[in-house]
Amino acid sequence: MRFPRGLGRRWEGGRRRTLAAAGAVTLVAASALFAAGVNPAVPQAAGVTSFQTEKAPALDPTDGVWSSVPGVEVPLSAQKTTYPFGGGQIPAATVRSVHTDDKLYVHLTYRDPTLNDESDGFTRFADAAAVQFPATAGSTVPFFCMGQVDIGVNIWQWRADTQRGIPENVEEISERGYVDMYPSTEPLWYSARDVGNIMAIQAKTPVQNLVALGFGTLTQADSQVVSGKAAHTGDEWQVVFRRDFASPGEGQPTFSAGTETDVAVAVWNGAERERNGLKSVSQFTTLTIGAEPIPPNRTSLMFLLLAAPFVVMGGIALVFWRLP
């Protein structure tokens, strides 16, 4: 099964023109948008642009830069392609992206009122969110669910439990838990840790770098080089991902300014015991690593809008004042 990239591309073309026009935006148009209550930060068309920025944002999803970056709302739906079916409770995620000369940043915002950041009990599952790219940037778009045998995908999965850290003693795991002593706590006795499973280690980054060639093939990449961080504010998660443009290894794309590729999103709601295929997923949408700078943000536009009449009136007053 293959999903043609046509649809995404067409939308992306449309969005290009919108952006070109945006360069010549007039105060009148902006005022009209504000008057209509439409947030220009969330274009309604699919297709994500990664804006150029000189100043690298902090590895913090609440960094001020993100409020200026237009986001694209990507619809999510239940995963119904393969066992185990599930998800669908988180209807959408807003995707934003910026890049510096050598790093790509992707930012997600989605609604999830329940914070689940531990997986220490049998029935506890953590919130998670992932972005997925074709293994080769700009290649034929692989199947959006975990790729396919001949076209792989690279998945960056942020996990709330990994961000929180692995519990190391029984008191952390179990209320009223108590153990006199452990005969050995050598890594050998943590089999998964001993064989290098990234689930089992106290990871340096809460984002796992994974590759897949179809269902059930998800495998950790050799280099865990995707950084990231998430913050739960109010009833939303905001997650930021960061990786160098250069590919860290096989099955992982190289990015550069001008790259046109695709990105898909998945989110897991821990409160609903979502994990694995039980998730809300999007289709692939285009990601363009463009040359445009981040547009002036809404606050500055608002300031301009409010200031403009005074400037104009001031000008007129000045002219009248200077008139003999």
Partner: protein, 411 residues
């Protein structure tokens, strides 16, 4: 879904993967419930070997629980029986008339298995994940009988009763844990049928915990993966220096104080049935003497630990737990044949796996009357042979006794 033949059920059933090619060996064990004293030496043998580290506190790959009230995790079996009854109303019944040697020794199960009642969407196996609290008290209701029988009890069924149930992973022929893992991180080894969770591939989804009807796949929060009984596979492989490279029984087996456990390896044919081998103690106890039965065969995983049912427990309860073979098994155990009596002596007399036995006839030593039935006891000798056909153990039916000279009154 594929069609596979489950001889416990005497029929084909649906399973997510086709049956293997056969031709390998299968780990199997017989537990004689009648003899267990719940000393938990087996549980400690396993724990002190494999599960003594942080994150494994709630984990007992081997546990011994009291029935009918106990359960580790709490109510694991009644919970699933209830789910099965809800999804297959009035369907969970057997037809014992359809009994056939080896292929269908217990007749035919007419209900649906846990694979057949699943919705196929979020579950391919009917099951649930027990909560942390369910795992916390492995011996709750220990020794709790159904009632205090003031008047005393007598066979065939005690009016106040309980019994111990010894449980490890069954290294099932059709493992539910394996069926449910979306990552195919669980595999069943060709050489001995041992079912393992690949600790490199597991991502802690706990679909195996949800699916295992016996609740023998367990989650470990310090590695965020699931772990389970590994059948002490280094011992099965003969890696323990004590066994000179020969297959050796697992830790929980050899530690058994009550001598209730015997473990072996059986040969499986390409048809999925046990290859005819009446000199193998496992084959003999299960297929010839029919004294040992699978636990909840109706779940459909074709488990490989077999139980000699407790004689004193009301039959209805045992029928649900061990299927329609129960009455014959209890009869065989109560009045053992000359051969069975000899084979029962092989329990816990060697650490090496016994692949075959021979019986050397001995003299008649007693005439007994058991439950109104006459029984002749012979002091035969049973000889256990290793995988190479060499003698590893020799035991008489009558335990040798020695009398101290009367004038020595101290030890």
């Amino acid at each position: 879904m594929a069609d596979v033949y489950n001889w416990h059920l005497g029929r084909t059933m649906s399973y997510p993967y086709p049956a293997g090619p056969g031709g390998g060996r299968q780990f199997a064990a017989v537990f004689n419930i009648n003899r267990c004293i719940s000393c938990q030496t087996c549980s400690m043998a396993c724990k002190s070997t494999w599960t003594f580290s942080p994150g494994q506190e709630l984990m007992w790959w081997n546990n011994v629980e009291s029935k009918p009230f106990g359960g580790y995790p709490l109510n694991w079996d009644v919970n699933l029986l209830e789910m099965q009854a809800d999804r297959d109303p009035d369907g969970q019944v057997w037809n014992p008339e359809a009994r056939r040697e080896v292929e269908a020794p217990y007749g035919q199960f007419e209900g649906k298995t846990i694979f057949e009642t699943a919705n196929g969407k979020d579950q391919v196996v009917t099951g649930y994940i027990p909560s942390n609290d369910d795992w916390k008290a492995p011996n709750i209701y220990e020794d709790a009988a159904t009632k205090w029988a003031k008047e005393g009890v007598e066979l065939p069924a005690h009016s106040g009763w309980f019994f111990y149930l010894q449980r490890i992973c069954n290294h099932c022929t059709y493992p539910a844990c394996l069926a449910a893992c979306p990552r195919k991180a669980i595999y069943k080894r060709e050489q001995d049928g041992v079912v393992l969770i690949d600790q490199e591939r597991c991502r802690g989804y706990r679909k195996c915990v949800e699916a295992c009807p016996y609740k023998k796949a367990m989650y470990r929060p310090t590695t965020r993966t699931s772990e389970k009984c590994i059948a002490c596979y280094p011992r099965l492989e003969g890696q323990d220096p004590l066994s000179d490279g020969l297959p050796m029984e697992t830790r929980c087996m050899v530690a058994c104080v009550g001598k209730i456990r015997l473990q072996g390896l059986v040969q499986v044919g390409s048809d999925g049935l046990w290859v005819d081998d009446p000199r193998n103690p496992m084959y003999y106890l299960v297929h010839v003497a029919k004294v040992a039965l699978p636990l909840y065969p109706q779940f459909g995983t074709q488990p490989n630990v077999y139980y000699i049912p407790p004689r004193w427990v009301p039959r209805e309860y045992l029928h649900q737990m061990f299927g329609p073979g129960t009455d014959a098994a209890i009869d065989a155990y109560t009045n053992p044949s000359r051969e069975l009596l000899a084979v029962l002596q092989l329990f816990r007399v060697t650490q090496k796996i016994i692949f075959a036995f021979d019986i050397i006839p001995g003299p008649k030593v007693a005439d007994l009357n058991i439950g109104g039935q006459k029984q002749e006891i012979y002091d035969d000798t049973v000889v256990g042979l290793d995988s190479q056909g060499r003698e590893i153990v020799r035991v008489p039916v009558m335990e040798p006794t020695f009398q101290r000279p009367g004038k020595l009154n101290s030890i």
